[in-house]
Amino acid sequence: MKYVPAIGLEVHVQLLTKSKLFCACRTDFGAEPNTQVCPVCLGYPGALPVINREAVRLTALAGLMLDSKIASFSKFDRKNYFYPDMPKNYQISQYDRPLCLGGGLAFETGGRTRTVRLNRIHLEEDVAKSMHAGARSSVDFNRSGIPLMELVTEPDFASAQEAYDFLLALRQILVYGGVSRCNLEQGNLRCDVNCSVRPETRSGLGVKTELKNLNTFKGVFNAIEHEAARQIGILEGGGVIRQETRRWDTDAGVTELMRSKEDVHDYRYFPDPDLMPITLSSGQVERWRSELPELPRQRRERLAAEFGIPAYDAGVLAADKAVADFFEDAARLSDNPKAVSNWVMSDMLRLLSETGRSIEDIPVRPAALAALVKLVDGQAVNMPGAREVFEELFEKGGDPAEIVRARGLAQVSDEGALEAMAEQAIAENAKSAADYKAGKTAALQFLIGQVMRKSKGKANPAGVREILKRRLSG
């Protein structure tokens, strides 16, 4: 029998705010432990929370980008549990009246477009970070109270790959919208996975398990692959799946039992009397809608149309908002957008990947790239020389024309000089010249190489080719 998985995701996304959800403490990553805390996020009795307006706006923005309905009325509830990561003994979350309802995301997977439905997006506070060692745990409250948006999908994913591709598309949109940095290393995006399988011939959903604590996309992928196979193995052996929570062990590559259904939490949610409800008028929602940033899909289409670059180029460039911004700034200053696109897609992305740097942190400016393209188009420097210039720009920035002068890379296009070098190369390589005349076209490439070498790489290769061909056809 063939089994099909049904997978749903709960994605926790750290919102891009300067201060916490219910107090003014900073949200900076990497601060010394317990230095970004106050009575509110430490859970002192009597300390009163006040909602950060920006966190509400960013959640609504995410909802608008994902086609959710923005609730005209929503409120916060207390989720009660006892654990040292939450000293007030409840987490402030949203239970039955979340900020955003429904929605969905269309994304590319396996060469086609899939749409996965969203159930809801709600706003909640993060908890403290605890580190376990020996018989003690250390608790750092810097993370406590940081605004998280929890996005819950319907169980629409049929494979690990679909879930993975969805997360990539989601991250792209959230970064585009300025909703979150989505920095995985800094824990900006964390997932829980609900996984069940059912026989292909049967409708409905099988018994699900919940996988906790996945903080990389690869981890989500591997955990789903493993868990779906584990469940199918049990069913094929005549066993039954128990509803339980399992933890993904990255090192061992397996899921292990955390708690069974009997221990399922009873959170006893109730409305938080310290916080007033949120009402959003349709006027407010429409104002936010009108401020929506351009999304990756729209940008892809616009880049292709506006700059006349191939759809493939537009897709590569639009994949990263900062890269697309750089391209667009440079292309606007250039009359050869396709050449700008080539530079960004090849040399720029290669160097960024090799150095592990981000396009925002390198000294090369869009205007410098546009100027470099102009030098190449005007035959002031040939491509190998231009590559050298680009590498220097990437490292130190500067003016391309100045770098060409300083490094002596100016292309030799002077007819007289090229003719002399061509004549010399033919004389020194009589055999190659004869081969070419006898029909071996590959010999021409060798002769061009000889001239390029004589010019120390500065000759204009197209000019050299023409001169050699003319001389050898006589």
């Binding site: 201060s19 006040v50 909602i51 745990s137 250390s138 409305p271 009402t279």
Partner: protein, 101 residues
């Protein structure tokens, strides 16, 4: 199991509530709390006699909405002060008995 407990207001399961609150109760305490919690539920039961037909459920007792602050960060407390009252700490963190799961 939990659904039943939540639905049945006539008798509070003190043992279950204690487990959720991670409390070990002496039999004498369990009996005391059983009595007290049952009394509290009795008070509230009086509300069930009120006719609320056509009354919107309230999210809050005060008719105020949209109390917000701007996203303006402020320095946190001094760490020594933060940790001063902790039963156990290491100068940087609060220290608690090992917790997992």
């Amino acid at each position: 199991m939990n659904e039943e407990k939540r639905g049945d207001c006539s008798r509070i399961d003190v043992e279950y509530v204690a487990r959720l609150a991670r409390l070990d109760l002496e039999p004498r305490e369990a009996e005391l709390f059983q009595r007290q919690l049952t009394q509290i539920v009795e008070y509230i039961r009086a509300l069930q006699g009120v006719d609320v037909e056509g009354v919107e459920p309230m999210a809050h007792a005060v008719a105020v909405e949209n109390v917000f602050r701007g996203d303006v960060p402020r320095d946190g407390l001094d760490r020594d002060a933060v940790l001063a009252n902790a039963p156990e700490q290491d100068g940087e963190h609060f220290r608690v008995p090992l917790i997992v799961g």
